[in-house]
């Protein structure tokens, strides 16, 4: 009877922020993003994209606990010229453009296949 509502797994509460950021005080050019109501889908996608950049020294993600619906992404960059926030922004932009291309190509190819088979 006291189970949390099912949609709380993926929908933000009214007063909840999508994401928070905490700068690492001991490690230079490093910080941790806490993304609420997200999981491996977004965490792994971001990590791999951020790792592609030669300006990245470290990128990793974790889900702290199966009952906490949050995903932490930790980033360290090689120099102060690019902050973890900048690296994050760049990864998001690259992924967005990849998804746009994937979307367009998928629609095109499905339409082509449908036209072929009548």
């Amino acid at each position: 009877m006291n189970a949390p509502e099912r949609h709380k797994k993926y929908q933000l509460d009214d007063d909840e922020k999508r994401m928070t950021y905490k700068n690492d005080e001991k490690i230079p050019n490093a910080g941790t993003f806490t993304i609420n109501k997200e999981d491996h889908t977004v965490g792994n996608l971001l990590r791999m994209q951020i790792l592609r950049s030669p300006d990245t020294k470290f990128a990793g993600y974790q889900l702290p606990h199966p009952l906490m619906n949050e995903c932490r992404v930790k980033i360290q960059t090689t120099s102060a010229n690019l902050t973890p926030i900048g690296a994050f922004q760049r990864a998001i932009e690259d992924l967005q453009s990849e998804m746009d291309i994937l979307d367009r190509n998928f629609r095109e190819q499905v339409a082509k296949k449908k036209a072929e088979s009548g």
Partner: protein, 324 residues
């Protein structure tokens, strides 16, 4: 340098080719992408594509041998046709109504009594058990109905028998009201719109054709017989000098066996096969339950990923402003 260190900040340009597209199944290849993208796409298709399922069941009469809870669970798993629903329906939690209304839910009623049905049956069938199926569900919304066929072809080639729910015997009756709502696989598995959604890397295969051609014909047969029938074969059945992969999906499972054998056969001690999973090209196999057309499931998945990225972009820009 890791394999992922490609040109910095350059996004990938994935290419798609559709191998096979039916009403409910599809097979497509995505090239020049990454395993993480492929897996995220798979995960959103399973977990976050919105569909409709029965979520609340009110029992008025249940004298069958099956418990209320089990019948309710079975009803929940019935795929509900969702034609144009995503445009018209909204999530109940986003709706203005108190519990549910026409904008966020559909009602399906079921009332089957053995004695009523038995009246119309011939005498010798009057004692046979009566099967209650999803055909007995009466929907109050013309757009909402249980799915009985995954495709038009199946509809024309097989008889509509419905999905069995309960069997009733003499004197038993079942009367209930169901409320179907929108939801997604992350909430409960009954909202998952696909019965299969997998991807695998494309194998990259090369043969040392010269070394294979040098072998005695019986040894070439031996290589082919290392794998189950149909995995390997001859490129030309009369020439029989060149071995080819016939079943691309299975070859990686047997690559080690082929390596071991061809190493012993080759005078140089090297394997005659070079096979490894691609890190950039993937084949998806998706099968829809019939509630949402299969190509729509993939498009909804891509859309969902785009929506997530847009949300994150807004959030990270806000953080960048406050930190600056």
């Amino acid at each position: 340098m890791s394999v992922y260190a490609v040109a910095s900040g350059r996004s990938r340009v994935p290419q798609v080719s559709v191998r096979d597209l039916e009403e409910n199944t599809m097979c497509f290849e995505v090239r020049d992408t990454d395993c993480s993208t492929a897996n995220s796409l798979r995960r959103v298709m399973v977990g976050e594509v919105v569909s409709m399922a029965i979520d609340l069941v009110t029992f008025e009469e249940n004298t069958s041998v099956v418990n209320d809870e089990i019948i309710a669970h079975r009803l929940g798993l019935v795929p509900i046709n969702d034609r144009d629903i995503r445009r018209r329906f909204r999530h109940t939690r986003d709706c203005d109504c108190d519990s549910h209304c026409d904008f966020c839910a559909a009602t399906l009623k079921l009332h089957v009594s053995f004695d009523d049905r038995a009246k119309d049956l011939p005498e010798h069938e009057k004692n046979n058990p009566l099967t209650v199926t999803t055909l007995d569900l009466v929907s109050d919304d013309p757009d909402v109905a249980p799915v009985h066929f995954v495709s038009k072809r199946e509809e024309s080639t097989s008889q509509e028998t419905g999905i069995a729910l309960v069997k009733l015997a003499k004197g038993q009756e079942l009367k209930l009201t169901c409320i179907a709502k929108l939801g997604c696989g992350k909430e409960h598995a009954k909202w998952i719109p696909v019965s299969k959604c997998v991807f695998r890397p494309v194998p990259e295969v090369t043969w040392d054709d010269a070394a294979v051609a040098e072998l005695a014909p019986t040894l070439r047969d031996a290589i082919i017989q290392v794998c189950p029938a149909g995995v390997l074969g001859y490129a030309d059945d009369r020439d029989r000098s060149k071995i080819e992969v016939k079943d691309e999906a299975a070859i990686l499972d047997f690559a080690d066996d082929i390596h071991a054998l061809t190493k012993t056969l080759n005078p140089t001690g090297k394997s005659m096969l070079f096979a490894r999973p691609s890190t950039t090209n993937f084949i998806f196999d998706v099968e829809s339950l019939g509630s949402i057309p299969v190509d729509d499931v993939v498009l909804c998945g891509i859309n969902e990923l785009k929506r997530k990225l847009t949300n994150l972009q807004l959030a990270v820009n806000e953080i960048a402003e406050t930190e600056a």
